[in-house]
């Protein structure tokens, strides 16, 4: 069992706090590290892969510190976000060199197996500089898998991939998760994480916002109070009719915007209620827009709850 433990970890760069008192435990299976851009996901992955020291707290792999401990790389495979990878080598040479650097007994066989896993044998004799983004990602995967690691860390692996490549990579990661490996990947796209990971860790603005089963987090996200901005032909009458229903928690008449600011409790209920009420009262709706649907606001709701 390979478990990465992040214990009360903070990391700051000068005056900027990138990761703020985060504790989490990443065990076997697939874990999605979800958060908006700049939330501290890369900082966390860098600390988990031994390329950044925590300013406070400890990051360990099965109780062994990861920072300044090159022995952990026998168990960790890292797929970095950056693309540069000795583009004067062919895919085969690159993966083989990684196997040799690990000091494996039979580097040739290991490289062949790793390239087979990511289905890149067909392009293994081409220089990696000529690869597409998805191909590079797969060869990077092969280089991380060449020593058959128990832990696989991937920093934004789906960035810039087309849908087909994305599906292939998801399939591959699912297999590793099913094998009992500890797989952690970061993403800022909820749907991506949801499709792949049962377990999700959410970070927002450097803080650990939520942790657990994706269904639970999804429910937290959809059940939160939704805010809408509504403009109609008769705001006051519409407000009176809406407040009578239980799915509305509060309505404010915004004089400057000449609009209603509505807080709904029940997302589903409100979205069917609004058009119905408007039709019955003979009121025309000009604008109905969610006021806080951005990912950041969804995340910040999670932080506050």
């Amino acid at each position: 069992m390979a478990v990465i433990t992040i214990d009360k970890v903070s990391r700051w760069f000068g005056n900027v706090v990138a990761v703020n008192d985060v504790s989490m435990r990443i065990g076997p299976g697939i874990t999605g590290l979800l958060g908006p851009n700049g939330a501290g996901k890369s900082t966390l992955i860098h600390m988990m892969s031994g390329f950044l020291a925590p300013s406070a707290g400890a990051v360990t792999l099965d109780d062994a510190p990861i920072w300044r401990n090159q022995e952990v790389y026998r168990q960790i495979g890292l797929v970095p976000e950056r693309e540069s990878m000795y583009d004067y080598l062919t895919g085969w040479e690159f993966v083989l060199a990684n196997a040799q650097l690990h000091g494996l007994a039979d580097p040739g066989a290991a490289a062949k197996r790793a390239l087979g896993l990511v289905e890149m044998e067909y392009a293994q004799d081409r220089h990696t500089g000529t690869y597409s983004k998805g191909m590079k990602q797969r060869v990077k995967m092969a280089s991380a898998l060449v020593h058959d690691p128990a832990v696989l860390l991937l920093d934004e692996p789906f960035n810039g991939m087309d849908p087909r490549q994305r599906l292939q990579l998801m399939e591959l990661l699912r297999r590793f998760g099913a094998d009992g490996r500890t797989v952690l990947f970061s993403s800022h796209i909820l749907e991506e994480v949801e499709q792949l990971a049962r377990h999700i860790e959410v970070v927002v603005a450097g803080r650990h916002a939520a942790s657990g089963d994706f269904r639970e987090i999804r429910r937290l996200m959809t059940d939160r109070p939704h805010r809408y901005l509504v403009r109609s032909s008769d705001d006051r009458r519409l407000a009176a009719a809406l407040i009578a229903d239980g799915s509305t928690a509060g309505i404010e008449l915004d004089w400057q915007e000449r609009a209603l600011r509505i807080q709904a409790i029940n997302f589903q209920g409100f979205t069917t209620l609004l058009p119905k009420v408007a039709r019955e009262a003979g009121i025309r709706l000009y604008t109905v827009s969610p006021a806080d649907e951005s990912l950041e606001s969804v995340f910040s709701y999670l932080v506050s709850s």
Partner: protein, 238 residues
């Protein structure tokens, strides 16, 4: 030494346009020495200005700068060093292997052409050509170690290295006497003087001190570079 690291480093060093820059040094030295041979000036003066000033004074430090930073700075810059570092490999092994490649390159592309140039101009007389070659080998190794360290600690290694080689050694070193004691070029010259026949060359730093400083600078630079590499922090694109 790790053969895989060495192989990757050699290919990275020679596989790009940098190989052309490396070849420029021998080509220039040979062209100048052929021209010098056919000129009517005093052969000894010619040898000292071509091998001493152009070779040891300018081309060896510049080549040391190219190979010393070239074996590592580019990989750190583009992030591909992560593939070397995310391995159960002692960091000092990575540093010493890369240093060996840099030293080898400085010998092949600077010291060896200096030997040929010296033989063309001055023949084997007084061991002058051999002296300058051994001096260039010693200086090339020290430059490689120093500039490799610069490549690990700063993103502006080339600028810092040029500052040291051109401003400190060439400018300050030529006018301020004390500065000569702290100059790899002068240490190399001391070695050259010791190898060549008595009285053929003149050096300002005593041989014992020069050797101690050469070895000291090279070892300390290598130790510091390994320590820095062990704690190398990746910067994210975010």
């Amino acid at each position: 030494m790790n053969t895989t690291v060495a192989r990757l480093t050699v290919r990275g060093l020679l596989g790009r346009r940098r190989a052309l820059i490396l070849l420029a040094v021998p080509v220039l030295l040979l062209a100048v020495s052929l021209a010098a041979r056919s000129s009517g000036n005093d052969k000894h003066d010619l040898a000292v200005s071509v091998l001493g000033q152009l070779g040891l004074g300018t081309l060896v430090p510049i080549l040391g700068l190219i190979v010393g930073t070239g074996v590592i700075a580019h990989e750190i810059d583009d992030g591909s060093i992560v593939y070397l570092l995310a391995k159960p490999l002692p960091r000092w092994k990575i540093t010493t292997t890369k240093l060996a490649v840099a030293v080898g390159a400085s010998w092949v592309f600077a010291a060896l052409p200096m030997l040929v140039a010296g033989l063309i101009i001055y023949g084997t007389k007084d061991n002058l050509a051999l002296g300058y070659t051994v001096g260039a080998m010693a200086a090339g190794a020290a430059y490689s170690a120093l500039f490799l360290l610069l490549g690990v600690v700063t993103r502006h290694a080339v600028v810092a290295g040029l500052g040291y080689a051109l401003v400190w050694e060439s400018l300050v070193g030529n006018y301020v006497k004390g500065a000569k004691t702290l100059s790899i070029q002068q240490w190399g010259l001391s070695v050259a003087e010791a190898v060549a026949a008595d009285g053929v060359l003149t050096a300002t730093v005593a041989l014992g001190l020069a050797l101690a400083l050469l070895v000291g600078v090279a070892s300390i630079a290598t130790i510091l570079a390994s320590a820095k590499l062990a704690g190398l922090t990746l910067t994210s694109d975010e």
